[in-house]
Symmetry: C2
Subunit: 447 residues, 2 copies
């Protein structure tokens, strides 16, 4: 059995390692177009923030460990250009310009996602960067150091844009953020999003929403992000307007795609071709709330899907429940978290959403060190079901969101969730956990 | 409608306030034997630790707020001695030795719990204290100050004993802890319990397990806790060997009791008498894992049960799911949490438990500031169900446990729980949340 994997990041290497544990004699080959495998991509903003650390500190397992200890045929610098499903072959080219062709019995496409770059003038200029691969991180870190970057324009206001704000400020770099959309974090309840915005402004970040970007040019030593009625100058531009699934190889091989052109897979990660699996940021998933297909690129899912492919290549043993879209990020003093559907998403999926937003304290009455904590909870008026949550606070957010995530997996109603026996001690929260206070209030609205 | 409540702590005052909101014209009377109502009992160890704060800082709502703003007939210093169910009357005596008798249509017994005091010589000596009521806290705080307490013996090693260790050390008071049982925290997985024990020892706490206590005497200015082969001298003795439900009033009124003599109630908090409810530490509950009756005195349940009584006194509207026994406490740098069944409890309830204990890091690979975190997970080999969890660590424990608590409410299997989409970001945990790593391992054992 020849198991061939395209892509040596989270999903690909998880699949390779687990396939080796499952099947000691399997012939396992990984083709990775870059020179980097198995690194903590999500750690890059924190690493960039810290001049004393090397970007390579983020490598979890060295390539030679996979090769020598696990007997995985890991080929870095190998870019795949074409899959030929009829003959079960892939064709590609190395970074030394050598052509190669390889046969497979089972194939995993784990090509990940790539940063969206607008088709506008100047986005290929030196100093205009995106952050996705370790090589991107390496390049940004070097650029900041070599050019002594003092100010940056960030285009986009997603998770990575926000995390990078904290990193840049830690390096005393000034920040202008700009995007065409009118709302700072449109997926978020406005009270929470406004609080984050105010927090960022207080750290000196300048936020420009509603500015159409026309291009990037340069004048003297500076890059200039040119918008209608606004020009922002900087030493560096970070483009962080999101990623898209790298599904071109699959598409040209006739494999079906779904949401946002991600590769369509079933619960066992099989694509429309019976010998081809897909996992990680390039593949879709079932949403545990809606039951529909969704595309939410997240690290845990990539790892989990990689494992599942390895469990399924010989005999189908592992079907994945799906994703709730649980995410957390840190921006300055705030922890920000979400899971499930926002009120707008719920509406789009045909629910009759009701929501509450509460603000309470992170610790018990009279306990010192307390800070504010916000919970936004969404439920369905028709069925009573809990649909999603958003949270914000300086402590107690990152893990609290998981109580809701588990409730979403359990298809719980708001009533059932409001009855859960959550932990209490004065240093960690009020007697009624903020999630329960929100659930109690939401229950009144959907009854 | 005359709604009479015996006991003005969490359950009683929650019921009174909610009954007022539900029924603006109801005649609501609360009889409280002490002078204190509505305070954060769980906050006492932290308050005692802080010389600058008054114990009365823990009062959440003043008695006059209940009386004047809510129109609740709140009678403090009113001890009830007898319930006469046939005539629906209660009889009692005030702290000014005035007898009283009151009629009710519906009665709530919310008499709470009281600290267990061994029937041994010397436990009534001055300086031998327990900590349950605000008056206890007041007395301990005053005693420490007036007698300039320098060392203390704590009898017992439960939650309160452990929380008070941190409080006493914050006041530079030396501590000997002693108990008859041979194991430090017998309900806890041994690796976790040993880690806590080592942590406490490193803070200078001396721990004596397996010493039968014979009594307390005094010599010169010191109290002496006399055990076989051991005498511990101290300025003060804290007795913290647990509490028992205050169910005597109910028992003598012919009302049924259950586990550990707690008052038996149904899911609507009704006792065996159709006009009498019970809520709080005096009453039992259904366990969400076993479905059987249990008695786990915890603050959230008391509040929730008080509310449910107020919802049910005229028309039955609120049935409670039950408790998972979720608890968290802080002891020095550690957060300690549990929910559901321990392996021993699971065995007693007829399950075929399997467990794993894992030790991992509280933050992602290469993220600074990481500490160790332990997860102990229990599942049933026969049914695959998740039964309980215990956690220990310096961060990320108090709220993480709630993911398991919600899974227990949802009757999830270990497999289902292992598939949940939990949050990930490098400052808050590894890609695979420690709970998921434990669940993945446990799954292999119970498959």
């Amino acid at each position: 059995m020849r198991f061939l994997i395209i892509g040596g990041d989270a999903a690909g290497m998880s699949a390779a390692s687990r396939a080796r544990r499952n099947y000691p004699d399997m012939e396992i080959t990984v083709l990775e177009k870059t020179r980097d495998v198995s690194y903590s991509a999500c750690g890059m903003p924190y690493n960039i923030a810290d001049r004393a650390r090397e970007i390579d500190d983020l490598v979890v397992r060295q390539a030679q460990v996979f090769r020598q200890q696990q007997g995985i045929n890991l080929l870095t610098g190998h870019r795949v250009d074409r899959i030929e499903p009829r003959t079960r072959k892939v064709f590609g080219c190395t970074d030394r310009d050598e052509m190669f062709a390889l046969e497979y019995d089972k194939l995993l496409i784990a090509t990940g996602g790539s940063p969206i770059m607008p088709e506008l003038p100047g986005f290929k200029r030196p100093g205009v960067m995106a952050l996705k691969s370790l090589e991107d991180g390496r390049r940004i870190k070097a650029y900041i150091k070599e050019r002594n970057v003092r100010n940056v324009v960030i285009i986009g206001m997603g998770y990575i844009a926000l995390e990078m704000c904290e990193a840049f400020r830690a390096l005393s770099i000034d920040i202008d953020m700009v995007k065409p959309g009118p709302v700072f974090l449109p997926w978020m309840a406005s009270e929470l999003s406004q609080t984050i915005q105010a927090g960022m402004v207080s750290h000196g970040v300048k936020i420009y929403t509603g500015y159409q970007i026309q291009g990037i040019d340069a004048a003297e030593d500076k890059l200039r992000v040119v918008c209608e009625n606004l020009v922002l100058e900087a030493d560096m531009v970070l483009v962080a307007i999101g990623i898209r699934p790298c599904s071109e190889l699959a598409v040209s091989a006739g494999i079906e795609t779904s949401v946002k052109d991600s590769i369509a897979v079933d619960r066992g990660l099989l694509t429309s071709n019976e010998h081809v699996y897909a996992a990680g940021d390039c593949a879709d998933a079932y949403h545990v709330v809606t039951g529909d297909k969704t595309w939410i690129p997240l690290a845990l899912r990539a790892n989990r899907a990689g494992w599942a492919v390895a469990d399924n290549i010989i005999e189908r043993k592992n079907e994945l429940a799906g994703v709730a879209g649980t995410a957390v990020f840190k921006v300055f003093e705030f922890e920000v978290a979400r899971t499930g559907l926002s009120e707008n998403e719920a509406q789009r999926f045909g629910y009759t959403p009701q929501s509450v937003t509460i603000k309470t304290r992170s610790r018990a009455h009279a306990h010192p060190g307390s800070s504010q904590i916000w919970v936004h909870l969404v439920g369905d008026k028709k069925t009573g079901r809990l649909l999603g949550a958003q949270m914000l606070g300086e402590e107690g957010v990152a893990h609290r969101i998981n109580a809701v995530a588990v409730a979403l997996h359990g298809q719980m109603t708001v009533d059932q969730f409001s009855q859960t026996d959550l932990s209490y001690a004065p240093p960690f929260g009020p007697v009624w956990d903020p999630l329960l206070t929100a659930a109690n209030q939401l229950q009144k609205k959907i009854r």
